[in-house]
Structures are given as structure tokens and as C-alpha cells.
Symmetry: C2
Subunit: 319 residues, 2 copies
């Protein structure tokens, strides 16, 4: 089944302690859509200016990404510039030019409106709500967010949380949103705000999945060299959403919605596998700048690293 | 098989944002010996003053802990006082009184000298080396350390590293010792300093075990309430060492040393299970001040939480 991905599409300038590159393909929707496309067809919603390189659009098109929802409008593409500190864990935004993104009004083509899986990648929660307003209730709705929206658009974000099935955010954001220092308490508190599932990303420490009385702890792939952390979280969300959509057929009949449109009850085991697949894609993505590593990534690569995740997390029962 | 545990025995005064307690049983050897005693007999080496409550000695004696190596000398017991900040992750040492510990010269009773498993719990590396000097080469040697020794006794610590099979330290200490920001690189670098195995503890993020081309990532038990983190690392080390010693019989014949005394080749799977058991004990220990929670802990409790660790880390193979 396809997944609709909405978010930002950007041209990034990224500086790390090792290198600096300008006008790279970036933005939450770019990473998330390409990530999801490893598993399932994607309906992309976003906006770019008329300066956006055709090569990038061709790249999206070369994946199983529908571009009917991609608006190309007069003006300049959204631009972001950031710098990573020596440990690659801290990032400073150097500049943001909203450009055509400032007046972005995501309007869904008719054939997008019943897309069964929805990933609201990181953009303002008002736009996330606006996209959701246009849709038949998807079978599963995932939202990503960031500290900025917790700071400047909390009410709109809280309204969104009541409408989604899963929220993805990082550890600092989870603490910021709940004022809880314990991530375990934070996960439970966010679930009480609406989403049935919460994923807390912990960077080099992996991620945590919270459900109803259920908990999954996923380690991080042991990377020695990280070249560019940009887009890791977006790629994670895209891979997770794409894997879920691709495995919709594994949902048992008893867990199907009673009405034609309504949330499905995805098996816990499938959710855990999706978190691992998101982690696999993100771990590859940070090995190179922009989406470079994803361009050459194969299904075999993904399977291989998934097995490493299994091996490194495995221990036997007690005798 | 028994494990010899050497380290500090202290009376602690601990302040958390919730409570403050004085003159609690503490010290690395206390936590480690009691932790190990859940799995195997312990030979304890340490020193206390004549003010040390007989009730604590009786408690050690009530476990399977041999006290022939416990020196009771005239003077006051080592005292430590610390305060935890609001998030319980940062700790400030308020005072340290070495007292009888200042002239501690660990001397092994003869029947300790061939103890097959050795845990050099956190004390100065000069004392750790001195204990090792008195022993027939144990089948497996584990050392714990802390930032203080990396700062003031680095040469002695580096000498120790060449003599031990496993080093346990926390993430900050691993970075401090190697000047590497990546824990994956740090683990590899420490292995190159001597120990065949390295365990990096990450507090609420779990722990990492590094071997020769092998890697295990262990999550942390999802605790909502932590009452006192003191001794978590020592209990972890004790549980890990105790579990290994108790399961020595599982080492295959081919992995036995060729000479009468020499290191054994513990199966990777046993090492991973030992890391989980250490995590289980540590997770219980932080639920109450001092060793209070360990006093009531049962074998059944340990098995139950081990299974939770398995469940929360488990995900299936790809179809």
C-alpha cells in the first residue's frame, strides 16, 4: 500500500568538522519519501522554487514516488544551512530562507486523498493538520515534529497529537514536551496526549517504541564514521512508514477497522521490525552527505544490516 | 566457581532531590560482592574501621560471601558523601574521608589466591595491580575503573589494562580515556590497550559489549522511578562477574586453557547473558537507597526481569 509523505524540500548547505557542501538536496520530505520508497510507492506533497534542479526531480521520479503533489512555483526553493560541532551531536542552524515555503499551502491531488498510510514529516503542525483535513481517515497516521514547533506552535501540535496514531520525536524534544526527565515517563505522558504509539529517537543510543503496556528498545548500528547526520530522523521516519505500509497485508482480519475508513491495529511485532528498518536506513544515510548513500543503497544492503541489528541485540534465554 | 571481589567498603551519605540518608552501607566492593553473591560464592577483600556496624558484616555473612579477606582495623571506615542533581544523572561529590582506606594494603588469605574469577571493583589501579600480583592467573579477570584514576593514575591503569580480560567503564570515561567521541571507536581503542573485552555502560541508555569482531548492544530496563543511582555500576559489575563464574562449566573443552592457569575463552553468548544479568541487578539496585533493594531480591525477581529484557529487545527476522 502507498504512503503519502508531506514535509519540506530544501537545498541545504552543511558544514561538518571534515567538509562543507552547498545546495544539497535536503528537507524532511526528501529524506522521508526516498526512505519510504525502498519499501512501497510514495505520494509526495511539497513545494520547490523554479531554481530547484531538475536532476533532483528526476531522482524522485526514478524511485516509486508520485510527483503529482509536488508544487513547482516561481521563486527560490527553501534553503537551510547548518553546522555540526566536533562530536556531530550538536548542530547550529546558520541560516534559514523560507522562500517559496513561506506561503506553502499543501493541496492534495484527488487521487492522494485516500492514501492508506500517512507520514506527516517534520513541518509546522498547522500544515500537518491541514493535510490531514483533506484526507479520508488513513489506516495509520505518523507524525514527526521538532523542538521549534514545541516552542512556537504548541497548541497546534497538541491538536495534531489527538489525531495521529504515532508520534516520532527525539529524546530532548520528548523531555521538552513533557517536562519529564525520565524518557520512560515522557513516552507514557505523550501517549496520554493522543498517539497510541510513541517513538523516541536517541541518536547514537538507538530508539524506544512505546505502546499500550508494550515497550521495545532498539539499539543503534555501531557506526565508526558519521559523515553527515542531516536527515537521519527523516530517513528513519520514512523507512518506518514505508515498511508499515508495505506490510499492511500482515494485519490480521480481527485488527481491521470496522468502518471503511479507520485506524488499523498493526501487530506489535510489525511495529518493532519497522523501527529497526527505520534505524537501518538512517544508519546508512549518515554515512554520506545529503541523500548520497541512499542513491546506491540496495535491498540486499538493507537486509544485511537488519541481520546485524538482530545479531547485536540477541541473547539467549536463561537455562 | 567462586569470584574474588576487591574494592572499597564505605559508609555513604547520599542526597537526592527526594531524600537524604546518612551512613548507608556503600562502596564498590559491597555492591559488587552482594551482586555476585546472587550467582556464586564470593571471596571478599576490603577494609573497614572499628566503627563499621556489625549488622553490615552479618549481612555479608548471610550471603555466600567469605569474609577472611575483610580487614577490620582501628580507626574510622571510609566515608563518601554525594548529591544527585534533579535529573539523577549528574552527581556531585560533597566529601570524601579516606580514613582506614588511606593505608589499605589488600593482602589475600592463602585460600583466596587461586580464586578462578577475579573482579577488581573500582579502587585505585595500584591496589588492583597489587591484588593481581598475589594471585595465580585467574581464569577470567574483570576490572572496573572511574574518571578519577584516568586523571591521577593513568600509567598504573594502562599497566593494569594489559593484564585483564575485560574492562568495564562508563561512556564518559571511555571518551576520556581514548579521546574518541564515537563510543564504537572508543571500545575498539580500549581493546587495543589490552582487554579482550570492553563493556561501556551508558546509564539510562544501556550498555555495549565489545569483543573481537563482535558487538552486543543491551538496552536499559525501563524504570520510571529511580531512587538512588549509587552503586549501579558496581552492582552491574558484580552481577556480570558472578554470572560468568557460576557458568564456568558451560565453557567448552576446546576453550579451556592449555596450562593449569590461564585465561579461558568464554562463549560470546554467555558474555552477553552476563551483561544482561548485570543490567538486571543494577536496575533493581537503583530502586532504593544503598543495597536495600538487593536485600529483598529473589532469584525469581531476577529471572522475571531478565525475561522483560528479552521481550523488550526482541524482534523477528524479516520474512
Amino acid at each position: 500500500m502507498p504512503v503519502l509523505v508531506v514535509g519540506s524540500i530544501a537545498l541545504d548547505t552543511v558544514k561538518t568538522p571534515i567538509a562543507e557542501h552547498a545546495d544539497l538536496l535536503g528537507g524532511s520530505a526528501s529524506y522521508a519519501a526516498v526512505g519510504a520508497s525502498f519499501f512501497t510507492p510514495v505520494n509526495l506533497v511539497g513545494v520547490v522554487g523554479d531554481d530547484f534542479p531538475k536532476a533532483h526531480i528526476d531522482y524522485f521520479g526514478s524511485r516509486q514516488i508520485d510527483l503529482a503533489g509536488l508544487q513547482v512555483v516561481p521563486g527560490k526553493t527553501f534553503r537551510w544551512s547548518g553546522e555540526y560541532m566536533w562530536d556531530l551531536n550538536t548542530r547550529e542552524t546558520r541560516s534559514v530562507e523560507l522562500n517559496v515555503f513561506e506561503h506553502f499551502n499543501p493541496t492534495l491531488p484527488d487521487h492522494y486523498k485516500a492514501t492508506p498510510y500517512l507520514l506527516l514529516a517534520n513541518i509546522g503542525p498547522n500544515l500537518q493538520n491541514h493535510v490531514l483535513d483533506q484526507m479520508t481517515r488513513p489506516r495509520f497516521i505518523i507524525a514527526d515534529t521538532m523542538d521549534l514547533w514545541i516552542n512556537i506552535a504548541l497548541d497546534e501540535l497538541l491538536r495534531l497529537l489527538k489525531r495521529v496514531d504515532m508520534l516520532i520525536l527525539n529524546d530532548g524534544e520528548a523531555r521538552q514536551l513533557t517536562k519529564e526527565t525520565s524518557l520512560i515517563r515522557a513516552g507514557a505522558r505523550i501517549r496520554a496526549m493522543g498517539p497510541k504509539y510513541v517513538v523516541i529517537k536517541k541518536g547514537e543510543h538507538g530508539s524506544l517504541l512505546f505502546g499500550d503496556g508494550q515497550f521495545f528498545s532498539c539499539g543503534a548500528y555501531p557506526l565508526e564514521d558519521i559523515h553527515d547526520p542531516t536527515g537521519a530522523g527523516d530517513t528513519f521516519a520514512g523507512g518506518l512508514a514505508g515498511y508499515l505500509a508495505a506490510h499492511d497485508a500482515s494485519i490480521p482480519l480481527a485488527a481491521q477497522p470496522t468502518s471503511a475508513s479507520g485506524p488499523v491495529d498493526i501487530p506489535w511485532n510489525t511495529l518493532c521490525k519497522a523501527v529497526v528498518q527505520g534505524s537501518v536506513l538512517a544508519s546508512y544515510n549518515v554515512e554520506a552527505f545529503s541523500l548520497e548513500r541512499l542513491r546506491s543503497l540496495t535491498e540486499e544492503d538493507i537486509r544485511t544490516r537488519y541481520e546485524v541489528f538482530r545479531t547485536m541485540s540477541h541473547f539467549e534465554q536463561l537455562a
